[in-house]
């Protein structure tokens, strides 16, 4: 018998310790989300409370305001919220069909080698850091926008514009949408496809009518994720947004201002209210993402009722 009583006792104590340690770490990990929300809330709300050291800000005019000028102490984010929603949604509208088609191509249509190559392309696009997209956007996309504007005889602010933001975001959320769609399409029950083929549908008809319909819930989940990324995208967007002082912006060739670009603008040389108010903007961003996800998840449940994946 190899049992050493002391050793057994020590092992048992160690075992208990590690169990506790693992659990503590897991609780710590998950508590960060609470910490994030709590502290950003606390700091973000402070400018609206009486007794705020740099002079209380009116919450209603903050939320509904249509001018954001730190030099005049005017902080209204109403138009910025609208700008953020507009740019993210239009980006989704552009990116969504392209990514679904690309996903279908990779999952079903492309020959094996081409499919693997395309999968790598999507993965590489996903790996490009946002700041690099930003460099690309301010170097190339702004040029395209300027050229387009000149066709209409419009002069832009060096290409920085709502359109540039939209195109940039469309590119940036494309990998997320595509890879989620690929997963959803690949998860479609092959029996469904065979049933369709057995009814005399062609391969392509089956791909478009059966696979896409059956996978729509998963594809929609990708769209929700992509939209979340579009709202929260910061540095790249800030490079081409132009930071308009009032709005909202509906003209694609006009400059715009999103929640994230507001949070980054002129951060280097700022203190006091102008610094603190960025936390309020961040809080608004969290709320926007939360509500958008909440509403879209309800829509997703409706859509998903007769879907498999």
């Amino acid at each position: 018998m190899l049992i050493d009583k002391k050793r057994v006792k020590r092992n048992k104590a160690l075992d208990k310790f590690f169990r506790g340690f693992f659990m503590a770490m897991a609780i710590l990990s998950s508590s960060f989300i609470v910490i994030i929300v709590l502290f950003v809330c606390a700091k973000g709300i402070s400018p609206f409370l009486p007794g705020y050291e740099y002079g209380q800000v009116d919450l209603i005019s903050f939320l509904t305001g249509s001018i954001y000028r730190q030099d005049q102490g005017l902080y209204g984010v109403g138009f910025i919220i609208i700008n953020t929603l507009i740019s993210a949604f239009i980006a989704l509208l552009i990116s969504f069909p392209l990514s679904v088609l690309t996903a279908l191509f990779i999952a079903k249509i492309a020959p094996k080698k081409l499919s693997a190559a395309m999968q790598s392309v999507v993965e590489l696009l996903a790996a490009v850091p946002s700041v690099v997209y930003g460099v690309f956007a301010s170097g190339v996309i702004t040029g395209i926008v300027e050229w387009l504007a000149s066709l209409f005889g419009i002069v832009t602010y060096g290409g920085s514009s709502l359109l540039a933001v939209v195109l940039l975001l469309a590119i940036m959320i494309f990998p997320t949408l595509t890879s989620m769609s690929i997963t959803a399409i690949k998860a479609v029950d092959p029996n469904l496809e065979q049933a369709s083929l057995a009814l005399g549908a062609t391969r392509t008809q089956t791909n478009f009518k059966i696979c896409l319909t059956a996978a729509k819930s998963g594809i929609f989940a990708g769209a929700i994720l992509g939209l979340g990324r579009a709202y929260g995208e910061a540095t790249a967007v800030a490079m081409v947004a132009g930071n308009k002082l009032f709005g909202p912006t509906f003209n694609p060739f006009d400059i715009t201002r999103t929640l994230t670009s507001t949070m980054l603008a002129g951060l280097k040389e700022t203190t006091g209210l102008d610094y603190d108010i960025r936390f309020s903007v961040g809080l608004v961003l969290i709320v926007v993402i939360f509500f958008s996800n909440w509403i879209l998840n309800i829509v997703k449940k409706r859509i998903g009722r007769n879907s498999v994946a």
């Binding site: 092992n11 160690l14 075992d15 590690f18 169990r19 340690f21 693992f22 770490m25 897991a26 710590l28 990990s29 998950s30 960060f32 989300i33 910490i35 994030i36 502290f39 700091k43 069909p97 392209l98 990514s99 088609l101 690309t102 191509f105 492309a110 392309v121 999507v122 993965e123 590489l124 696009l125 790996a127 490009v128 850091p129 700041v131 690099v132 997209y133 930003g134 460099v135 690309f136 301010s138 190339v140 595509t178 062609t202 392509t204 008809q205 979340g228 709202y231 929260g232 910061a234 540095t235 800030a238 490079m239 949070m263 980054l264 951060l267 280097k268 960025r278 936390f279 961003l285 969290i286």
Partner: protein
């Protein structure tokens, strides 16, 4: 319409959609390469970002007669007499400069003492890459003559003037800035700090979730909390960093935002990535191995450390690599936490920028420097793509390992 034609049109559309993504990737690479590739060199990687001006006199110990300079046949105009070769260049900031391309080891310019107040007598050596601003030399009559930047005109003329000189008194030169050494170090610090903290917490959390957690409300709450972290925009992590973690860094002596603060913030941001890839690896470890170990009288923690974790090492490595990729690419979370001040000699408690943040810093300034930004982007992309490929290879090995 013919069904076949219709099918082919639909198929064609998917080909076009896919081609678009290839075009975008190609356009990004083309843009970065055409703008940035020419800038990438050893000097870029090892150099300072800020140009420094040096004023130095030839050391009194230097003897012209004892030191013999060698012939030189590289580019630029060479003066064998002084062992220095000069060349005309245009800098990243569009300035015309006369740049040093070669300095002979026996040249007087390698034996100089600083004339700058505060650094009196510090030994200096002219290195290639520096831009010459003005020179004091001795003419045939033994008189000291001032050769200003304007009088130099270009490299050829400067060398010609110097060849006629009898001695060199002092030189004023500027090191060429725009280097990224400081940011590389800052990036390495960030990677180190964030992984050092994120790895143990993340791995332990994954172990709890997969090996211990039974299905109950608390555990599903824990899981939900971690999953929600994934959807938080990185800029919000930055906000959390300055409010929650800044006091923590103050405890160890930080007085402003710092690389340490950035690293701590990124550590939290990496948690979901590390937890997920560790858990995915734990799932693949067969249950029979755990049973085997437990049936031999090993405790649960012994089983985890000796059998389960060694089997999951590939997955953990994947998490580490993905984490490194994210740290290298991250910018928004760092804007608030490490500041956007580029530093040439960053330390853990100082401000500084990672490579990505440096791009943001030079692009959001008054005069964006597209060439430098593209060059850094290119470096980042190469690293990130390499990481992606390695992760893919590991993933394939992981899938095969327990069949």
């Amino acid at each position: 319409m013919n069904r076949l034609v219709k099918d082919n049109i639909l198929k064609g559309i998917t080909y076009v959609a896919s081609a678009l993504s290839v075009i975008v990737l190609a356009a990004i690479l083309w843009y970065l390469v055409s703008n940035g590739l020419s800038l990438i060199s050893g000097d870029l990687i090892t150099g300072d970002y800020y140009a420094t001006t040096e004023n130095a006199a030839i050391s009194p110990d230097y003897s012209y007669t004892e030191m013999e300079t060698q012939e030189y046949s590289g580019k630029g105009y060479y003066s064998k007499k002084w062992g220095i070769a000069l060349e005309d260049i245009t800098t990243a900031h569009n300035d015309e400069e006369i740049s040093v391309v070669y300095v002979d080891p026996n040249s007087p310019f390698t034996h100089m003492n600083s004339l700058v107040a505060g650094e009196d007598g510090m030994e200096l050596s002219l290195s290639s890459g520096s831009a010459v601003q003005n020179i004091y030399y001795e003419d045939q009559n033994g008189e000291t003559v001032f050769l200003s930047r304007v009088q130099m005109k270009d490299a050829e003329n400067t060398i010609k003037t110097l060849e006629e000189a009898e001695g060199i008194v002092s030189i004023n030169y500027e090191s060429i800035g725009g280097g990224i050494r400081g940011s590389i170090f800052a990036t390495l610090y960030l990677i180190l700090i964030s992984l050092l903290i994120s790895l143990p917490i993340g791995i332990a959390s994954a172990i709890y979730l997969h090996e211990y957690a039974t299905k109950n409300k608390i555990n599903s709450l824990i899981r939900q909390g971690i999953d929600t972290l994934t959807g938080v925009p990185s800029i919000v992590y930055g906000l959390m960093g300055v409010t929650v973690l800044f006091p923590v860094t103050q405890l160890v002596g930080a007085t402003s935002t710092s690389i340490l603060l950035g690293g701590l913030t990124l550590a939290i941001m990496l948690l979901p990535t590390i937890i997920r890839s560790t858990e995915e690896a734990l799932i693949v470890v067969p249950k029979s191995l755990r049973d085997g170990s437990l049936s031999l009288g090993a405790t649960k923690s012994q089983t985890i450390f000796k059998v389960v974790l060694p089997c999951a090492v590939n997955g953990i490595l994947t998490g580490v690599l993905l984490g490194i990729g994210r740290v290298i690419g991250e910018s928004a979370a760092l804007v608030y936490t490490t500041s956007t001040v580029i530093s040439d000699n960053p330390s853990i408690l100082s401000q500084g920028t990672s490579l990505s943040l440096m791009i943001w810093s030079i692009m959001s300034g008054e005069q964006p420097n597209y060439e430098l930004a593209s060059a850094i982007s290119l470096i980042i992309l190469v690293i990130v793509f390499a990481i992606n490929i390695i992760v893919k290879i590991i993933g394939k090995r992981l899938a095969k390992s327990f069949v």
